[in-house]
């Protein structure tokens, strides 16, 4: 297993420097393709057809909305700057909707992400979809502005399936609820 281990370490270090936003995912590399953090390697992205979602076996999407660039099935999509969980876009929902048969949590934590199209900072509500088991597809964890649970509504480690009939977590959305003013 040495080569595999080495790959993981190399990958981890590589990504920690080069695409740092993703390095926790690197830590979780094995959870993506198992054994090695392959999807995070540029080579893997290329192998995976270029412009791939970064998740092998997951095809790229668009938001279908002007001024909302990027791939909602990729962990690099701008709205996901502080998401933690499985992307509903990969699970029968979308970046702004829950998969059939799940329930969207009415409350959750929020982040602030910059839309590269207009350079503006949007307030993103990461509502969880609940009442079915872990989707397990497209695990994505970014932590810009994440603060531990003593700042509850700025924390992404909390199971936000609260106020729902079931607290079982399935996947996460990234919904625009407003725009951050200079004040922020």
């Amino acid at each position: 297993m040495q080569w595999l281990d080495r790959l993981v370490v190399i990958t981890a270090r590589h990504v920690a420097r080069k695409t740092s936003r993703r390095s926790f995912l690197t830590g979780l590399g094995s959870l993506l393709v198992g054994g090695a953090a392959v999807p995070l390697l540029p080579v893997a992205r290329a192998a995976d057809g270029g412009g791939g979602s970064g998740y092998p076996g997951v095809a790229p999407q668009t938001s279908g909305q002007a001024g909302d660039p990027g791939d909602p099935a990729s962990c690099d999509y701008w709205r996901y700057c502080a998401i933690d969980g499985f992307l509903c876009s990969c699970c029968g929902g979308s970046h702004r909707s829950c998969p059939p048969g799940t329930e969207m949590s009415p409350m959750t934590w929020i982040g602030t992400c910059t839309n590269p199209a207009d350079g503006k900072d949007y307030i993103i509500s990461y509502n969880d979809c609940c009442a079915k088991t872990s989707c397990s597809r497209c695990l994505c964890n970014n932590n810009e502005g994440d603060i531990p649970p003593y700042r509850a509504f700025s924390n992404n480690d909390t199971n936000w399936c609260l106020g729902t009939a079931s607290s079982v977590y399935h996947c996460s959305t990234a919904i625009i609820i407003g725009i951050a003013t200079e004040a922020s």
Partner: protein, 392 residues
């Protein structure tokens, strides 16, 4: 956001000054605030390019699921999922917008009080609309197998295979949603519908036990056929493909045994060989989990094959899928798989796809006419999707 701020608990306000402060009305040219909550819906009738991938989840067997997948779509292939735990069985109705899961839950998840139940899901919302408790803790638990849950009488009756290890078949009137009967099938297993109100089961003595029912699920007649296979020398796989009421059972060593299931009393038909002498030299054999599937329109059978077969290789999967004319038994094509295959399923489509569970536990989609690989659908969508159903 409305919902969100409405529910924002005052006690936490110290912690959430940010949202309260920084949200400004959206000016033009900016993306608008989006509604919460939004939950997707599916059509009441699913396209023929969809499949149900039944993932028993070896790595957490209490927490299996059925994933609904559009194998033809370029993206957004994953349409939704249903819970199906503890060696569950699954069946979709073609007459009603309903899906059925026979499963088992425990009051403390892995221990405590056992409840077997049949849960009825609504196809559009994938939400449970009703459940029927299955009495006695008898539900048979097997690595996923289609013939543990089957319809009779035009989908009016739903049959569940029980195994404790006493074998019996529970008969449910699924329209009335009530249990009608529990019928012993000693020494036999599985449910193979035959005719309108009858089903066969394969038995340890190489026979098929045929159980004929009346409208109320009571036994009209129960009798065994003559022995017609050889469990010791060359067992039949218990998962046949069906074309026009004829069941095609492969054997471990590569024969196809046909059984005419169109009448209440099945008729044992002729058999034929999957491989030619030269191939038999190389020990080409069928193998995998769901190893045979059919395209009913064209009358073609598809069988997953591996080389260098031996006693014990019958679950090994394979590198090729061989295609046959079901009536003549003539092989008309070979599809070389891009990735080693474990289970195969043809879609119910004019220009059908062959869907293959590969060794990575992802789904490979092939266009049958051309034999060309189309796409792989995975990304940890599944853990162990051993059984595939073409969508109704």
């Amino acid at each position: 956001m409305r919902c969100w701020s409405a529910l924002l608990p005052n006690i936490l306000l110290p912690g959430v000054l940010i949202p309260a402060m920084v949200i400004a009305p959206l000016a033009r040219a900016e993306l608008s605030a989006e509604p919460i909550p939004v939950v997707e819906k599916l059509p009441a009738v699913y396209p023929a390019t969809w499949v149900y991938a039944h993932d028993s989840n070896f790595f957490s067997l209490v927490d299996g699921k059925v994933v609904i997948v559009d194998v033809a779509a370029k993206n957004r292939n994953y349409k939704g999922s249903l819970p199906a735990g503890q060696f569950a069985s699954f069946l979709a109705s073609s007459k009603r917008p309903e899906l059925y899961v026979a499963e088992t839950v425990y009051s403390r998840r892995v221990r405590g009080e056992r409840t077997d139940l049949l849960t009825i899901y609504d196809k559009e919302n994938l939400t449970p609309i009703d459940e029927i408790i299955l009495p006695g803790g008898k539900r048979g638990q097997f690595v996923t197998h289609k013939n543990t849950l089957q319809f009779l009488d035009d989908e009016r009756l739903l049959l569940v295979f029980n195994f404790t290890p006493a074998a019996s078949v529970l008969v449910i009137d699924i329209e009335q949603r009530r249990i009608l009967n529990d019928i012993p099938i000693a020494g036999c297993a599985m449910i193979y519908p035959s005719g309108k109100l009858s089903f066969g089961s394969l038995c340890s003595d190489n026979t098929m036990l045929v159980t004929q029912l009346d409208k109320n699920g009571q036994v009209k007649k129960q009798a065994r056929t003559k022995p017609f296979f050889h469990a010791d020398d060359d067992p039949l796989f218990a998962k046949p493909a069906m074309i026009d009421g004829i069941a095609y059972y492969p054997s471990f060593k590569g024969m196809i045994q046909t059984v005419d299931m169109r009448t209440e009393e099945p008729v044992i038909g002729p058999g034929w060989a999957l491989s030619r002498p030269a191939e038999q030299q190389q020990n080409w054999r069928p193998g995998g989990w769901q190893i045979i599937t059919a395209d009913e329109d064209s009358g073609r059978l598809f069988v997953l094959m591996h080389q260098d077969g031996f006693d014990g290789s019958h679950k090994n999967g394979g590198s090729e899928v061989w295609v046959y004319d079901a009536v003549t038994g003539k092989r008309i094509d070979k599809i070389t798989l891009k990735h080693w295959g474990v289970s195969i399923q043809a879609t119910r489509h004019d220009d059908p796809y062959l869907v293959v569970t590969n060794g990575d536990m992802n789904l490979d989609v092939y266009h049958i006419e051309s034999g060309q690989w189309q796409r792989t659908i995975g990304g940890r969508a599944f853990e162990t999707p051993f059984i595939l159903h073409a969508a109704h």
